[in-house]
């Protein structure tokens, strides 16, 4: 009984915290603050996963989401000087529109959730070894296995990494026009791999 009460109390606690932090993520004017609040939301989510019995997932959440993604976001904020460049204050009509859309969406979804019978059977038991089960699913090549998505996701990650390198590198591809300069915003540095841009050293090498 205590466990049940704690479970319920934790749920409401984590839920309210998550919602509050989420509001901060979307409403904060200073981006670093928003990033930290995002970290908070994700942490609360991890907690909620634990409440749902998905401990492994909670761990993954903290490792990947919080530890990887949010950190990446913070890096980007730094790189794009967004922390001190501008204050994110959307105009009133924009905010109104956004509120309207999201509230309507919420109402819609809530309506669907409240009126649908999901045939829940909460009494059923989870499998004994959760992590083994997940692992098995991921590598299951049968009809209900996830090996194909698993492989595709790995490909996706590879593509994402390569793509981001290509997009974000400082030197443009060889066929683009050059301007002099370095890595100030708006400038491009000449490609040192091309002969015309080599530092003159007399050619006697």
């Amino acid at each position: 009984m205590i466990a049940g009460a704690v479970h319920t109390a934790l749920f409401y606690l984590l839920a309210c915290a998550a919602i509050a932090l989420a509001l901060a993520v979307t409403g904060a004017q200073r981006l670093l603050r928003a990033a930290v609040c995002l970290m908070g939301v994700l942490a609360m989510s991890a907690g909620l996963y634990v409440l749902l019995g998905a401990e492994f997932l909670a761990g993954i959440q903290v490792l990947v989401y919080v530890g990887g993604i949010v950190v990446l976001i913070v890096f980007t904020i730094m790189l794009t000087r967004s922390a001190d460049l501008l204050e994110d204050k959307p105009s009133f009509p924009r905010r109104l529109m956004a509120v309207a859309a999201s509230v309507l969406f919420l109402l819609m979804t809530a309506g669907i959730f409240l009126t649908t019978d999901f045939r829940a059977n909460p009494g059923a038991l989870p499998p004994a070894n959760e992590v083994l089960s997940i692992g098995r699913s991921l590598l299951d090549a049968g009809a209900e296995g996830f090996v194909l998505p698993f492989e595709v996701v790995s490909l996706l990650l590879l593509a994402a990494v390569l793509g981001s390198i290509v997009v974000a590198r400082k030197t443009p591809p060889p066929d683009q026009p050059f301007t002099s300069g370095g890595d100030r915003p708006g400038e491009v540095r000449p490609d040192p791999t091309l002969s015309q841009n080599e530092a003159p050293d007399g050619g006697a090498r």
Partner: protein
């Protein structure tokens, strides 16, 4: 139909030859060689004239003079078919008056063509002139030969177009352009009435066709190449049909329907024949070249109205007061035009008013026809016949004089008798003819008209006709004395020379015709009903008429043949009256006033406003709305991704809503 000779069977050649000539000359010969165009056009009309005379000869051999002359339709094709019992055909009607007119039209046209070869020499539009003349001849012949009222209407309009083209021949002259527009608009306005009249006749004729058509068809069986239709003259002139139409009840203001229809038809005739008050276009139409005036506005087109009335005379007779309207309008125009003609100085204007007056004679002759006294029909047609010749001669002669003196004013001429002897002789013949002096043609035809008026018991009309005979003699001899007698009044008149042969040959031919055509016993050829009109001279009428004419000549000699100045003093003595008459009783000014202040201001301007703002505005509004909508929609394309996201979300919500509602 077997005893029909070659010409009768191929009577369609009479209008067809000018038509093919028109195409040939207009499209092919004109760009190639002007001279060839002129010669070809003239030869074509001479050929057509030859065929017309042949048709006349064959027709009167088939139905000898003195007997009945039923109308024939030796050639026809079905043109428009509305339904089995209602169709319009194109064909050629051969009966005494159509044959008469075919001969007149082709002969005068041929002579005018010949004359124009000399008159229009050196003109820029030489080829164009002959093309239009051919077109006109074709249209007029089509009108004359029409067996049904719709074909006549089609060619009526075509004649109007040809007239428009020819009046406005010198298209760089604003006055000519204005005159051609005036002619076309006035006649078009009259034709509106004409068409309504046609519709009424056709409608009620069609209603009665089921009942009476069979009987009428049986009567005319064998005489028509196409089946009888409600539009045919053979049908509309039938007594049974007319009786039925006359019995139809009152239409507007208590006027019987047939009378109304015939008055409307007469409106068309009045427009084309320039009866008061639709006469305003004819004096202005003198802006066209003189051969055009001779052919169209003297001899042929303007008599189309007379021809129409003659063609539908049985219907007019059945229509009661319609005929009275014809007679009154004719008589009034006759007097009105003669009075104005006395004061004009432009020779062509005088001749134009003279034409108005003479057509008035023809109309009143037709107007005094009644069942008991049908002489007017013959008289009107006879006068049409003779008038064509001497009026054409007068115009062509005037053309020669104008050509020599380079001015239209009679006061610039003078002494031309010595300088232009042939023209002088021919002109004198024509003037004597129009004045009605024996033995020239006008004497006989005018005499018959007077006899018809008196015989029908119309004393007032008779008096008017007699008076006008005197006036005619007076003003015609006024021109004669001023132009040909005395001393040359201007530099050019001094140096006037006779016209070239190609111009005086037609004059001589017409002079001969003006002399002999009076001796044709018209009554035996053309008469209403089957019995001929006995010819001969009625001395009780001839003597007063001749005396009046001689008095007119004498008065003209007094004022214009003697020492100068008498006319001047007389004109001054009459003062204001003279001025009013000289300004043609200000009829043109009245028309202009009404047109500007009533038609333009009250009718045309609101309509133009409506057209510009409502109609155009409506179209512009639709364009503006579309553009506005487009601009508004454009603003959706903000380039802001988040705005697009909002729409995206809205779309999702909408779809969810639909699915949810469907599930509910």
């Amino acid at each position: 139909m077997n005893p029909l000779g070659f010409a009768l069977r191929n009577a369609w050649l009479v209008p067809a030859i000018p038509f093919f000539s028109f195409i040939l000359v207009g499209l092919f010969l004109r760009p190639w060689s002007k001279k060839a165009a002129g010669v070809a056009a003239t030869l074509a009309i001479f050929a057509s004239a030859f065929v017309a005379c042949w048709v006349a000869w064959e027709y009167f051999r088939l139905y000898p003079p003195g007997g009945a002359h039923p109308p024939l339709v030796p050639w026809g094709i079905e043109w428009l078919r509305y339904r089995t019992g209602l169709s319009v055909s194109m064909g050629v009607l051969v009966d005494p008056i159509s044959v008469l007119l075919m001969v007149v039209v082709t002969t005068v046209s041929a002579l005018v063509h010949l004359y124009s070869i000399g008159y229009m020499r050196g003109d820029e539009g030489y080829g164009r002139f002959f093309t239009f003349l051919n077109l006109f001849t074709f249209s007029m012949l089509g009108l004359v030969a029409a067996p049904n009222i719709l074909q006549m209407y089609v060619f009526w309009e075509l004649v109007g177009v040809s007239s428009f083209l020819l009046i406005g021949f010198y298209y760089s002259k604003p006055s000519a352009v204005a005159a051609s527009k005036k002619a076309f608009i006035v006649t078009r306005f009259a034709d509106a009435g004409f068409f309504i009249g046609i519709l009424i006749l056709a409608y009620y004729g069609y209603m009665a066709f089921g009942q009476l058509g069979g009987a009428v068809a049986a009567k005319v069986a064998g005489r028509s190449a196409t089946a009888l239709q409600p539009f045919d003259f053979l049908y509309l002139a039938d007594p049974a049909v007319l009786g039925k139409l006359a019995a139809l009840g009152p239409a507007l203001l208590g006027i019987p329907l047939l009378t109304l229809a015939m008055v409307l038809v007469f409106m068309g005739a009045a427009g084309k024949s320039a009866m008061f008050p639709l006469h305003i276009w004819l004096p202005d139409a003198m802006e066209g070249p003189t051969p055009v005036s001779a052919l169209i506005h003297a001899a042929t087109m303007v008599v189309a109205g007379v021809y129409l009335v003659a063609r539908l005379l049985p219907a007019f007779v059945a229509g009661g007061s319609a005929l009275l309207v014809v007679a009154c309008v004719g008589a009034f125009t006759c007097l009105f035009a003669a009075v104005i003609g006395i004061t004009q100085d432009d020779i062509k204007r005088v001749l134009a008013f003279s034409t108005l007056s003479q057509i008035g004679y023809m109309m009143l002759a037709l107007g005094v026809v009644s069942a008991a006294h049908p002489l007017g029909y013959t008289a009107g047609m006879f006068h049409l016949f003779t008038h064509a010749f001497f009026k054409a001669l007068l115009f062509l002669g005037a053309g020669a004089m104008i050509h020599a003196v380079h001015s239209n004013e009679i006061w610039d001429m003078g002494g031309l008798a010595r300088k232009m002897p042939i023209t002088h002789a021919c002109f004198l013949v024509a003037t004597l003819a129009i004045a009605g002096i024996w033995p020239f043609a006008g004497f006989f035809s005018k005499d018959e008209i007077l006899a018809a008026a008196l015989g029908g018991g119309h004393a007032g009309i008779f008096a008017v006709s007699l008076a006008v005979a005197g006036l005619t003699a007076f003003y015609m001899f006024r021109i004669y004395f001023v132009s040909f007698w005395g001393r040359p009044r201007s530099e050019r008149a001094e140096h006037a020379r006779e016209a070239p042969a190609v111009m005086w040959l037609p004059l001589a031919a017409l002079a001969l015709l003006s002399l002999v055509s009076g001796f044709v016993p018209m009554g035996e050829y053309v008469s209403l009903g089957d019995a001929p009109e006995r010819g001969g001279v009625d001395f009780a009428i001839a003597i007063p008429a001749s005396l009046v004419a001689l008095a007119g000549i004498g008065l003209a000699w007094f004022f214009y043949g003697g020492p100068a100045g008498r006319a001047q003093r007389a004109a001054e003595a009459l003062g204001a009256v003279y001025r009013v008459v000289k300004r043609k009783f200000y009829v043109d000014e009245v028309y202009l006033f009404v047109t500007k202040n009533v038609v333009f201001r009250c009718v045309a301007r609101p309509i133009a406003w409506f057209d510009r703002h409502a109609v155009d505005g409506g179209v512009n509004l639709s364009a503006r709305t579309t553009r506005g909508l487009g601009a508004a929609l454009r603003r959706l394309q903000t380039g802001q991704v988040q705005a697009y996201c909002v729409w995206y979300v809205a779309g999702i919500l909408f779809v969810l809503l639909v699915l949810w509602a469907a599930r509910m």
